[in-house]
Amino acid sequence: MSTTLSDTALVFERYARQTLRSKFQILFGILMPLLYLLFFGPLLTGLPLGSAGSSWQVLVPGLLLQLALFGASFCGFAIIIEKNHGVVERMRVTPVSRLALLLGRVLRDALLFVFQAVLLVLVALAMGLRAPLAGLLIGFGFVALLVVSLASLSYALALKVRTPQEFGPVINALTMPAMLLSGLMLPMALGPGWLDALSHLMPLRYLVDAVRDAYVGRYATAHMLYGVLVALALAALAVTVGTRVFRKAGA
């Protein structure tokens, strides 16, 4: 157990150093949600969104999870390059814990995207967002959990494919429907019944609902319960799958 922890710290440090060397990597993921915040957010301020609080309390939770969704899903690209340099194999041949090989990476990712989420919220506050501090913190917690889940799955998929050309289209094909069906931009409750029902099949929907509740100060709701359960289950499943792939990857 303690070796898993120290191995995880070691792998985390290696990838954190790599991130700190690249200003581009530190800030790049924030661009898309930031553009939505600046140029899409103001369109919603006068619209009836059918929910409590201001339009910012509806939109910003969606943008945070959008940041996590797109940022984490593309994490696998980096490991394809590493794999082609033989770095993954070189690490797998050492006694280092397989769980640590995954966790060290995804914890770096979680920290990076929570940092970007904080920046995004600061801009949102300047634009008019008002929300309780506890709600904001809960939102960052969901960002971290979602990143751990999706980055784990992204690394697992990346270790299975041979080239970035195979990886990109698959991720695109999965992230776009995930964004649209989870109601990241506008609450699904605004839509027709069939779309609302369909969106309940998308796990991300439950996280969005939970963060929106947190942003209006409602912490003991059914949405929150389902959100936490789905986020934790997804993370446990994804880390298990990811660790298995690091154990077996024939790549």
């Binding site: 041949v93 006694p95 024939g250």
Partner: protein, 260 residues
């Protein structure tokens, strides 16, 4: 007990076009302090054998012990006691030589100060001092290969596996690397297992050869004995012995397909 024993080691890959037997059945032993060469044409199963012995690939049949540990029951023990240098090396081009060596030492569970000291010691020993703060991308081919070796030696392994160690090096650098591998064995008693399809390398470097073709061992013995047995005389070239054994030359490429 020998440093390595393998018996009936095999690996079948399941592909869409049916099973492919990359390694059918390999039996081999390596004594402590021996330099053992796995020789064979491209696709013979050398690298797959090496990947099984280093725990990267689980065998589908057979048993092996490496450095006193059972491959199937104690892969972690095998990993602790062996080093592996892949054909592609395995360093990140954006990371410095020092950082890669220290991280590698820590992955082998050396303490931080121990890993730092060991990195310095290996750099001095392998002619990398002065390069420690360079990015690995800035190294020449020969320097890169010496760094790859240092990465595999950081934890003083009992057994060192080298996959095609001199591919891509010029003749002078190749001879330097052979000297280095011999010196590591002489000074530390390290058992070295290397794959190659260069006959001069097999002849010059290995104490004993295991010739693999179509996933099975077709011959084994010291280079001179193979030449005598399969090419008629110890003065014959290993090339003649190899041709007699496999019916083709070791680096033979498949004929280029007709273009249309």
């Amino acid at each position: 007990m020998p440093a390595i024993t393998a018996s009936g080691l095999s690996r079948t890959f399941q592909t869409k076009r049916g099973p492919v037997e990359a390694v059918r059945s390999v039996d081999l032993t390596a004594e402590h302090g021996e330099i053992l060469g796995l020789l064979g044409p491209n696709g013979a199963g050398k690298t797959t054998t090496l990947r099984m012995l280093t725990t990267l690939l689980p065998p589908t049949g057979g048993t092996a012990t490496v450095a006193g540990c059972d491959l199937a029951r104690d892969p972690a023990g095998v990993r602790r006691r062996t080093g592996y240098v892949a054909q592609s090396g395995g360093v990140d081009p954006t990371v410095s030589v020092r950082e890669e060596l220290v991280t590698q030492g820590r992955l082998y569970r050396l303490g931080r100060s121990e890993a730092v000291a060991r990195a310095r010691e290996l750099a001095a020993d392998l002619g990398l001092e002065g390069l420690l703060d360079r990015k690995t991308a800035a190294l020449s081919g020969g320097q890169r290969r010496r760094l790859d070796l240092a990465m595999g030696l950081i934890h003083r392994p009992e057994v060192l596996f080298l996959d095609e160690p001199t591919t891509g090096l010029d003749p002078g650098r190749r001879a330097d690397l052979w000297d280095l591998v011999r010196r590591i064995r002489d000074e530390h008693g390290t058992t070295v297992v290397l794959t190659t399809h260069y006959l001069d390398e097999a002849d010059a470097l290995a104490d004993r050869l295991v010739v693999i073709d179509h996933g099975v061992v077709v011959a084994e013995g010291p280079p001179a004995a193979l030449k005598e047995r399969y090419a008629g005389s110890a003065a014959a070239s290993l090339q003649d012995a190899f041709l007699a054994l496999t019916g083709r030359s070791p680096a033979a490429e498949k004929p280029a397909p007709l273009s249309v």
